[in-house]
């Protein structure tokens, strides 16, 4: 550590040049645009109009906006619940059990993150839409409509955030090993007891971390949802779709207000994640 500090303390013109460049780059690319969004969110609509928190909240209380955020919350909630149960379950299976195809499965579960959101939407349409999907006809006969309704949007959201819990839980499960679990088992604990008393406490923070990441990703999903949703006001319009629709429709103040809420949510997620990391380390 002392050595690196020595190197660090040698500051030439290059050091200051690089520092200035990095600060300027991040300012121009990220910080300044973020500041502009905030400024416009709270700016008065026209000269002399009220500015600040009041009009901002008023825009958010528009029924179509509350509907959009409600729908986003519903989709995100179910996607996160599904991904958490599935993620913890499949992580346990992948790390603890031996079965044919285990390696292939462990590769495949990471795939959804690298697929373009548009392709995710298209894939769900081609599988389940009642007109063109592989299983659309059978589902329609059973009276189930997935594409163009909330279940399809929940599936799209769950698809794109699927690996996030698994990515966090698998390394922890591998690190803790099976000693404690085997000991509990030899003392007569059954599978559920072992999971609840031994495994769950040790993967707790990894699960929470994965849940926060999934939630952040789910709240902001746009591309996949856009393809499977009808996307009109009060009909499948989530918060992200609302932002696009309003912006394209020259209703920028509402778009900015909704965007600002999502910016706040993502910054909050970042803060929570860094707090969890600290907690986990101690």
């Amino acid at each position: 550590m002392a050595d690196t500090r020595q190197i660090r303390s040698r500051k030439g013109p290059v050091t200051y040049l690089l520092r200035t460049f990095v600060i300027a780059y991040l300012a121009v690319l990220v910080v300044w645009p973020l500041y502009e969004v905030t400024a416009r969110t709270f700016a008065p609509l026209e000269r002399g109009a009220a500015s600040g928190i009041g009009p901002f909240l008023e825009r958010l209380q528009d029924p179509s906006v509350t509907y959009a955020f409600g729908l986003t919350a519903t989709c995100a909630f179910w996607a996160v619940v599904i991904n958490t149960v599935f993620g913890v379950g499949i992580s346990l299976l992948l790390v603890r059990y031996q079965f044919p195809g285990r390696r292939i499965l462990s590769v495949l579960v990471d795939l959804p993150m690298s697929v373009s959101p548009v392709v995710v939407g298209l894939a769900l349409v081609l599988a389940y839409s009642s007109g063109k999907g592989w299983f659309g006809g059978a589902l329609e006969a059973a009276g189930v409509f997935i594409i163009g309704s909330t279940p399809g949007m929940i599936m799209a959201t769950a698809f794109v955030s699927l690996p996030l819990v698994i990515r966090e839980v698998v390394p922890v499960l591998e690190e803790i090993g099976t000693d404690a679990e085997l000991a509990a088992s030899s003392l007569g604990a059954d599978g559920w007891q072992i999971f609840r008393r031994i495994t769950l406490p040790s993967i707790k923070w990894a699960v929470v971390y994965g849940v926060v990441l999934s939630l952040a990703r789910s709240l902001g999903e746009f591309g996949a949802v856009k393809i499977v949703s009808p996307g009109a006001a009060f009909r499948g319009e989530t918060a992200t779709l609302l932002i696009q629709n309003r912006y394209s429709n020259y209703e920028e103040p509402t778009a900015y207000a909704a965007a600002f809420v999502l910016v706040l949510a993502s910054v909050l997620a970042l803060v929570v994640v860094s707090l969890i990391r600290k907690e986990d380390r101690s």
Binding site: D3, L29, D110, S116, L122, G220
Partner: protein, 282 residues
């Protein structure tokens, strides 16, 4: 990123393979079955449907779709822009990581958080955020809407963290002794960087770049508001897919989608192999 899931480091898995892994019990067997059914329904069948739809018209129609002048222009633009952004990120990302690790100044921790913001922001919000500073009502008089520079900027924004976050930990772990030795033998700082530091960073830079490239190829949300979607000029592959879907041309959409899937997978695998080779050579 894939590595941690696919092949966890350390001997833990290989030595425990036979003894520590449990055989499937009836309960875990049912769990595995349920997980596989859900994974197939959500991910595997829909992706198979995309490949199926692309292959439905045979090789000839797949080829015709992709070589159609307008589609080909979109694909070429996507690859060129993604490549440009990847090169820019390889250089800038390394510099940012360098400054964050080696430099010491007031506000550095804030910059460290700023790096993560593009990841945390919903993509549509990222597009909107950039438009507030570089859009039609830009306070600095720059309008990037419907330009290739706009696409470049949006991709630069969403891929910012990849190289930084892969290079940063490697730079932190770097042994200072070697640098000291090089310096004491009379190497200039530039030589030390080129001969000592850079070679150990190359695998990390390659890994980060490959992830960034794959993301840039498939990016959708942040481009929706920025790219004007003009054929031959500013239309990228993901937006071309959307246009195909909206025009009810499922086969066309699937053909481009399959290509996107393929490019992303090939890039990740190829650059991963390069990174491994470099790492082995030391």
């Amino acid at each position: 990123m894939t590595d941690t899931l696919v092949a966890p480091p350390g001997p833990a898995r290989s030595t425990r393979r036979s003894s520590g892994l449990f055989r499937l019990t009836p309960t875990s067997g049912v769990g595995l079955g349920a997980a596989l059914v859900w994974f197939s329904v959500l991910v595997l069948l829909p992706l198979a449907a995309v490949v199926g739809a692309a292959a439905a018209g045979g090789w000839g129609s797949f080829w015709n779709t992709l070589t159609d002048a307008q589609t080909f222009a979109a694909l070429r633009l996507t690859v060129v822009e993604a490549a440009l952004v990847t090169v820019a990120n390889a250089v800038i990302g390394t510099i940012v990581a360098w400054v964050l690790v080696r430099d010491q100044f007031f506000g550095k921790r804030i910059l460290d958080v700023v790096i993560d913001i593009p990841f945390a922001l919903p993509t549509i919000v990222a597009g909107l955020v950039l438009l507030t500073l570089y859009g039609p009502e830009s306070p600095v008089g720059i309008n990037i809407v419907n330009t290739r520079q706009g696409i470049f900027l949006a991709l630069l924004f969403v891929t910012l963290p990849f190289v930084v976050r892969t290079v940063q930990p490697v730079l932190l772990e770097l042994d200072a002794d070697v640098e000291e030795a090089a310096a004491s033998l009379g190497a200039s700082r530039a030589t030390t960087f080129r001969r000592i530091i850079l070679p150990s960073l190359v695998p990390a830079i390659a890994a980060g770049s490959s992830l960034g490239f794959a993301r840039a190829i498939s990016e959708f949300g942040s481009l929706v508001l920025i790219s004007g979607n003009t054929p031959y000029e500013t239309e990228v592959a993901s937006l071309k897919i959307l246009k195909f879907i909206e025009g009810d041309n499922q086969a066309g959409a699937a053909a481009v989608a399959v290509l996107l899937l393929l490019v992303a997978i090939v890039t990740i695998v190829a650059l991963d192999l390069i990174a491994r080779r470099v790492a082995r050579r030391g």
